[in-house]
Every structure is written in C-alpha cells, then in structure tokens.
Symmetry: C2
Subunit: 231 residues, 2 copies
C-alpha cells in the first residue's frame, strides 16, 4: 500500500543521512506497528512488513530476529513513554491537589495522557493503541504481555484511589479498574464501530467527545460501586 522506494532515506533534508541503519530500523517498526494493529500478530507476514517498509525480508531478521521478537520490539517501543507520561501525570495531580483530590481527578490524570498522546502523536500512536487493545483481549499470551508492561502504573492508580476513598475495598477498586480499562481501550482503538452504529452521530476519532464523557462516566460508576458496597 504505502510502498516506499527501496532507498528513500531520512527526508533528504538536514543532516546528510548519516544514520543508515537506525532509521531503517524505525521504518520497519512503523510498518510492523500499523500492520499488526490492523490484522493482529498472525495476520501479518514478515514479507508484508518488509514490502511496506521498502526493505528486504532478511533485513527484518537481521535487526530483530524472529517474528515474535519484532512484535515485542514494536510493543515495547512506546510502552515506556506511555508509562512515564501516566506516572508523571498522576504524580503531578497528587502533588498539586493534596487533600482536595477527587475520584474523577485521579481518573482523569490516569486516562488523559493517553488521549492527549493519541491526539497529538500522529498515526503511529493511534496504531499502537489499537494494538494494545487487541493484545488486551488476547487470552493466549495477551495477559502476560499486558501485565509485564502495564501493571506498575495500574497499581499506582489503584493505590491513589485508595487514598481518596480509604474505606473502599481493594476488590472493588480492581473490578472498577477493569471496567474502566475496557471502556478506555475500546475508545482509544477507534474501531469506527460507533460511527456506523450511531449513523454518523458519533465518530470514534473524536477523542474530544470521549474526554467530555469518559472521566465523568468512570468516576460516577466508581463512586456508585464503592458506596453501594459500603451500604
């Protein structure tokens, strides 16, 4: 599809295209990311990745080894950026609000970085979120992969929520997190389903609409579960 000429390098501008190998590596990761996001791990062949990156098949194995290692490289590339952004956001919220923290505020600090990155980060990030959503729903090996990369920041969320609502049970917090992540991931993956379902009334690419509703939605659901259990 987006076929690249075999030897088109880094824009032909600025530095005299010194780094020959490194940006090809990134190009391969970009192509793999988009394809994996659309068709899943097994739905993509190394030849497709190579073709879209404008590169020989063997080069993929030269840089990344086996196909699964390529996938992991795609997954890990943005995971750390993501985790750091969320962690920073939540820490900032805790520091600036102190005793005035609210459930909705904490949830917003947890989700909003992802929305913002998706809005400002270009197509690569959108593909990545679709990829994560897919992995999240893969029973076979998705669970371990998600846990390996995203457990710490989730625990940070749960612990912060526990500070805001000290009488909440951890069981409830974890269940509510699961509900939250289901909604969030589906929104971030922008499947386009809501577009046809609502007959054009909503657009899954309209993350501003998500922002205007998701925080309040999750926070209210959250409070309801916690208080109901308390009663």
């Amino acid at each position: 599809m987006t076929a690249a000429k075999p030897r088109a390098r880094s824009g032909g501008r600025g530095r005299p295209s010194k780094a020959t190998g490194l940006d090809l590596k990134e190009t391969i990761l970009d192509s793999a990311e988009g394809l994996f996001a659309r068709h899943g791990f097994h739905g993509v062949t190394t030849r497709q990745v190579a073709a879209e990156a404008g590169v020989d098949t063997a080069l993929i194995h030269y840089y990344f080894g086996a196909k699964r290692e390529l996938f992991d490289a795609v997954f890990v590339r943005r995971a750390e950026i993501l985790n750091q952004a969320r962690s920073v956001s939540m820490n900032a919220y805790v520091e600036t609000h102190g005793d005035a923290m609210t459930v909705e505020g904490v949830i917003e600090a947890f989700i909003d970085p992802l929305l913002r990155i998706s809005q400002d980060g270009g197509q690569g990030w959108k593909s990545y979120f679709a990829l994560v959503a897919q992995v999240n729903n893969t029973p076979a090996w998705g669970g371990e992969t998600m846990a390996r990369f995203f457990d710490p920041v989730v625990h940070q969320l749960v612990d912060t929520l526990k500070v805001v609502r000290p009488d909440a049970e951890y069981r409830d917090l974890y269940w509510c997190y699961q509900f939250l992540t289901g909604s969030m991931m589906l929104a971030l993956s922008e499947t386009g389903r809501i577009d046809s379902l609502s007959e054009g009334l909503c657009h899954s690419s309209d993350l501003e609409a998500v922002r205007a509703r998701l925080f309040a939605y999750c926070a209210a659901g959250f409070e309801a579960v916690v208080s109901r259990r308390k009663a």
Copy 2:
C-alpha cells in the same frame, strides 16, 4: 490437546448414532470456536481444527467451504440465540416495569442474559464471548461483522434508554453504550488479567462479582453523563 478419537460418536449412548454428519459438523464448530477464541482467526489453521475435532482436513471444506466461511459459521451459530435472549429480556423488563423503569434496570436487562448464559452455558459459550470480544477489537473486518449481527439489539437498548431519560441526547447514549460494551466484553472474555493484577483478590471467572458491580457502575456513569450534559 483435547484430541478425539477419529470415530468416537455421540457419546455412545441413547440413539444408535444415527446422525453421522450433523453432529460431526457441530464437533468441528466446537473445536473451531475454542481455537479461534484463543488464537484469533489467523492464528488457527484448518489442520489444527481438524486435528482437535478428530476429523480429516477435507471434511471441513466439505461442510463449510473456505476457512473464512467456517469462522462465520462459528460466529453466527450463537449470535441469534444471544440476540433473542437479550431482546426477550429487555421486552420483559419494559412490560413488567412500565413507568417504573430505571436506567440500571434497562442496563441489567441488556447485560444480565449474557452473564447468565456464560455461567450456565458451558465452555462453548465462554469461548464464544472471548471470540466476540476479539472481533470487537479488530479494526480490519471486526466492525462490519459486529454491526451485521448485533446492531438491532443495541438500537433497542438505546431506544429504551431514551424512553427512560427522554431529555438525554442520542449522542450521549451512543457514547455511553460504547463505554458499557467495552467493560462488558472485557468482563465476558475472562482474560484472567485481573487475577494476576489483583494478586488473587479477584477472579475474572467470577461473573457473580461482575454482576454485583457492573450494572450499578454503568448506570451511574450513564446518569452522570446525561445529567452533566444537561447542566
């Protein structure tokens, strides 16, 4: 794994194994369902399906044609049962409650049939829900598939909610439905992620715990979005 002997028929009990073809067809669908649910469409080969069903590869093509048609047969087999159960449940709720309908009641009538079926329907249904969840997060062809089978009952939900909250905007209703379905599908697919995340505190197979929280969670989120937009 669950290898079946090539000629083990319908339990060896009761009728003298008259229906030779039809129950083999079901056996193939069962095997395909489980494998597709775990590894996705592209992660499964017709040979694997045949092996687990204890059947020759060619028989799959004899009954279902191409691999994709097999997948569609798996998908459609339970979709109608599902839709009817939900439709019946919602109609019953509307009839029995009339003016006393609540948002939470409608949502429960929409979700609870799925939870009940998953609890009482055996492993086949659990696999099926995992499969649907996976399709729901597949950008390539998942959207059309979901729309084709599940749009009507969703519109029924949205319309009923509109009756309960006449001043709500359809845009909000559709967005809230998307949040709801993200949570619901993740819960139904029982990925096991919450088990390790909560360090044993929660179990994704515990649908009773889901029932005790999800309805209230979604309903409260719902009311919050609707009333917030009104203000």
